[in-house]
Symmetry: C2
């Protein structure tokens, strides 16, 4: 494996640049850091553009590099790894990856569940939601415009590699939501003041599109008229909300339970 030593190297500079959304958007690339996340990427080797391995992990990953025919694999020293990663304590491996492209067919399967996140702001929350969606095998994720970027270092890290496993569609418009409703999706809004209990919703009877509003501002008025039911997780009277990633996890688990038990 070639050894990179200079901050001026083209690959190193590219990795650094990918910490900014502008460059991720321009190039269609993003940075994946850490052993666990990169191991998920190894299941999609077609997405790997460049791999960086620190000295002490060379023995661990040399076999993978050969097996997966990764052409651009480089050995780097710990300080250079730290320079190219967004994490303060990088785990010794990182990769430049191509953003996965998902066909819209996923949306048209019967009894599919779709989560629509309206202006989600926190990358950690978004990454956690992606991790949950992948782990529970429930749902395709749609993001409105003005949502945080799922390919940012923080979101990618919280997704634990899930970002390359499940379809996340960005910049989804109101008209797309309307089209899904016309195609037979029941439109549910997660809302702590809703009038239906989550546990009373039948998720086995067809396709569901579940809207979560932003952490700070709730759901935009653009969607209210399409909502078939406002659904709440029953909270204590004086409490007013859950963390959005926790609420998403609870919805997903209830759907999973209903699928298992009919």
């Amino acid at each position: 494996m070639q050894v990179l030593v200079s901050k001026e190297n083209r690959q190193i500079k590219m990795a650094r640049k990918l910490q900014e959304k502008k460059h991720r958007d321009q190039k269609g690339l993003f940075l994946i850091e850490g052993q666990r996340a990169v191991q998920e990427l190894f299941i999609r080797p077609d997405l790997i553009e460049t791999l960086f391995v620190s000295d002490n992990l060379m023995e661990v990953y040399e076999g993978d590099v050969q097996r997966l025919h990764i052409k651009q694999a480089y050995q780097v020293k710990a300080d250079l790894m730290k320079y190219l990663c967004a994490t303060e304590t990088p785990q010794g491996i990182a990769a430049i990856a191509r953003k996965p492209v998902w066909s819209p067919d996923k949306l048209l399967q019967p009894d599919s569940t779709v989560f629509f996140l309206d202006r989600i702001a926190d990358p950690g929350n978004l990454g956690t939601i992606i991790r949950t969606a992948w782990a529970l095998g429930i749902g395709v994720l749609l993001l409105s415009s003005n949502s945080t970027d799922p390919f940012s270092p923080k979101a990618v890290r919280a997704s634990m590699g899930g970002i390359v496993k499940i379809p996340v569609y960005q910049a989804v418009s109101t008209s797309m939501i309307r089209e899904l409703k016309e195609k037979g999706y029941q439109v549910l809004a997660a809302d702590s003041k809703g009038n239906k209990l989550l546990y009373d919703i039948n998720f086995n009877s067809g396709k569901s599109l579940i809207i979560f509003g932003s952490e700070a501002h709730g759901m935009s008025g653009d969607y209210s008229y399409m909502v078939d039911a406002w659904v709440k997780i029953p909270l204590q009277q004086e409490a007013d909300s859950l963390n959005i990633a926790v609420a998403h996890g609870i919805f997903s688990s209830e759907i999973r339970r209903q699928r298992l038990y009919g």
Copy 2:
């Protein structure tokens, strides 16, 4: 309200010090920041030691200060607020609060649910768990020693004020867990490789103590011999775990559901 202008003021210096665990432990005090969290504190005015309000929020909070007889309330300028808060963009209000003290009686109620977190490391995760426990009204929280401090600024912020609402017992020992088991708690371990499905556990038949292992290292061997059942949330085959705060939320929601539906 007295106006504070100097970084050398005793109250300001105390607030700054409380960003460090050492001082929180010594004084039995901690810092609460932000409008929503401080409003929760107003429901426990006995815990308020000192209140700091920035210029622009004086009108909003003057009434509360009088109504609650808060003696040490000070007006501070935005830059001083930023200096005393741990957040980068403080929301204009902060308080020094006494740590709430909870009687152990809470643990001895019939059909109570207790979560035991073994060496939880991330303050954001711990705060989110506290927020969920409060919002769903489920559970008392026990923390092993070597867990992250629930009174750290990050944990307090993520708890959204929940830290003053629900009992969180720290430095809980193995012998305490054993004692609860002897008192009739069923001991469940959350484990993605468990042999029982969460949805098959009966949470209405008695008291449950649910153990979550640390994010990175899982559960310590000290507890395994006490476990009555290893319980999993059913995941996709290739996925191996959920975020701990999401998993805790899913367990809590299932308990809530069973209590509602019997």
